[in-house]
């Protein structure tokens, strides 16, 4: 519907809009709430990050200089942003075929599939993380399987490793990837694939040349959500990742709660937020470009 209202046709459509022009007042309560309890706190966070010392007596850019002057901090930021890339890529690899399977299933199968897909989204994050401890622990399923198959002599250390963390995050974030993909894939015109098949393209060619390019908006939306959620997944990172690896959310928590260094914690938060926003904006740009590609 919205696609039809192209700029050239907007004239008459605008005139037909409901005459009451004061709907915007309905947005005021939430706007006021966000101004006080969301925007102001974030601005204050910026202000606190500009204190030069932990006691908050003088202003200066010291916290940022400290952050960027130490390769340790940069490594934490880098590994956090990279963690998101790994999780997002794997989620796409497994999530896309799942979304594809969904669109090709009958209605009964679809409702069973959708329940399995959204189950992790609605299960408590502590429960999901707890499950991974049971699966990856010394006495866990994977280790028992490996030992009984003779593939390992002694239990492997799977918990508190990055591989284990990535697996847990992929499971947790999978719904965020699959749901937008299902939306775009079910909007695709099935005639396009039939046409491509009739013209002699095999399923691989049809998939790569027709389905995949046309589903790019869904891929971008899914990647955006998955990425943002996995770099900020504090609980999974700290319980499955353990104390061996440090990621930005734990770093912020540690500086605030354990070390009471609010200015540095605030500066780390700002750096982290700006980095995540930067990646998200990059995804958005890609999304806009992919939409242009689809319409062309």
């Amino acid at each position: 519907m919205t696609a039809i209202t192209a700029p050239g046709l907007a004239g008459p459509a605008t005139a037909a809009r409901p005459r009451i022009g004061r709907e915007w007042t309905l947005a005021l309560p939430l706007a006021a709430f966000f101004a006080v309890f969301f925007v102001t706190p974030l601005l204050l966070l910026v202000a606190v990050s500009l204190y030069a010392d932990a006691e908050m007596t003088r202003f200066g850019l010291d916290q940022y200089i400290r952050f960027f002057g130490d390769t340790f901090n940069l490594a934490v930021l880098g590994s956090t942003l990279l963690l998101g890339v790994k999780v997002t890529a794997l989620t796409l690899l497994f999530g896309y075929p799942l979304a594809w399977l969904y669109t090709r299933s009958g209605p009964r199968m679809q409702s069973a599939l959708i329940l399995v897909i959204i189950l992790p989204l609605l299960t408590s994050v502590v429960v999901r993380t707890f499950a991974w401890i049971v699966i990856l622990g010394r006495d866990g399923i994977v280790n028992n399987l490996l030992l009984s198959l003779g593939l390992a002599e002694t239990p492997l250390r799977l918990l508190y490793t990055e591989g284990g963390l990535v697996a847990a995050l992929v499971q947790v974030q999978m719904p965020l990837m699959v749901l937008p993909l299902i939306t775009t894939l079910s909007r695709l015109d099935p005639n396009l694939l039939d046409a491509s098949a009739a013209l002699g393209a095999g399923p691989w060619r049809g998939f790569l040349k027709v389905t995949l390019p046309l589903s790019l908006p869904g891929i971008v939306a899914g990647c955006l959500l998955t990425y943002a959620a996995s770099v900020t997944a504090f609980i999974t990172q700290s319980l499955v990742g353990g104390g061996q690896m440090l990621f930005m959310p734990q770093y912020i928590y540690q500086q605030t709660i354990t070390l009471h260094n609010w200015p540095f914690a605030a500066a780390i938060s700002i750096v982290f937020m700006v980095s995540v926003m930067g990646v998200v904006m990059l995804f958005n740009l890609l999304g806009r470009a992919s939409k242009g590609y689809v319409h062309a």
Partner: protein, 271 residues
């Protein structure tokens, strides 16, 4: 004729690859939940899978676990308050933003959605700084305020999605037939968007019930929430009671999901 499809190497390998990956994804999605459920019925003291023998002892032990019960009660109360306020604020905002293509509407939409992509832990810290600067002591109220900010986007998103399906011609005809704005809202708009609001409310409740990053900074000692209590249990001692709590949560969640799917078409609203 497209129906004349012979099984070729291409189509066989395509089906095999897609099917295998999709199967692996399904296994990955469902396995952890099933593992927790089975483990929670263990008779032993450790989180071994499969358990040596089965019993309901850890579920029974929850009856005396007053700390866990208190935390669950706080979480339920909090979820109810947060959901109620989020529904009112989110729905009214969606009504304002929904029909407008103007810049202010798109700007507000982006602002209201931003808690979803912003690191929640950073927002938790910002709230702590805000309330301590303002000299407000942490309480149930500050906790609820923090949760509302991160829960509103869900209500807004699902309500906006269902508003998009409302034909503006319906509103115009209702108006031209002499119905007032409130009457039109009650009889035309609300029935159309009811399912969207319902699904949004459900997700908002779940997100509040499950929130740790904001609770970590906003909760005072008297308002300990369930996920934080569980987190501490898991970090300090791998108490099997945590498995039983998880079992209860999974059962309630799956039940609520099935009910919401029947009543509000939850999965359709999520897309």
């Amino acid at each position: 004729m497209p129906d004349m499809q012979r099984p070729t190497l291409g189509s066989a390998s395509f089906g095999l690859v897609m099917g295998t990956l999709a199967g692996a994804a399904l296994l990955l999605l469902a396995a952890p939940t099933l593992v927790v459920l089975v483990t929670s019925f263990t008779d032993g003291y450790s989180l071994k899978f499969p358990p040596p023998s089965y019993s309901l002892r850890w579920y029974a032990s929850l009856i005396d676990a007053w700390q866990l019960q208190d935390a669950a009660l706080v979480s339920l109360k909090l979820g109810a308050v947060v959901t109620a306020v989020s529904v009112v604020l989110g729905t009214t905002a969606a009504l304002a933003i929904g029909r407008s293509q103007r810049a202010w509407a798109r700007g507000l939409d982006a602002l209201f959605m931003s808690p979803l992509v912003l690191p929640a832990l950073a927002f938790g810290l910002a709230s702590l700084v805000f309330f301590s600067t303002a000299g407000v002591e942490l309480s149930f109220l500050t906790l609820a305020i923090g949760h509302i900010v991160v829960s509103v986007p869900y209500v807004l998103r699902t309500t906006l999605a269902s508003l998009a399906q409302l034909d503006p011609a319906l509103l115009e005809s209702s108006e031209s037939l002499g119905a007032g704005r409130l009457y039109t809202f009650r009889r035309v708009t609300l029935p159309t968007i009811r399912n969207g609001i319902g699904a949004g409310a459900f997700i908002a409740f779940m997100s509040s019930f499950d929130n740790i990053p904001v609770s970590l900074f906003m909760a005072d000692a008297r308002n300990e929430v369930l996920p934080i209590r569980m987190w501490q249990i898991l970090e300090n001692s791998l108490d099997v009671r945590a498995a039983a709590v998880s079992g209860v949560l999974i059962a309630v969640t799956v039940l609520a999901m099935v009910v919401m799917e029947r009543v509000a078409g939850l999965s359709r609203q999520l897309r």
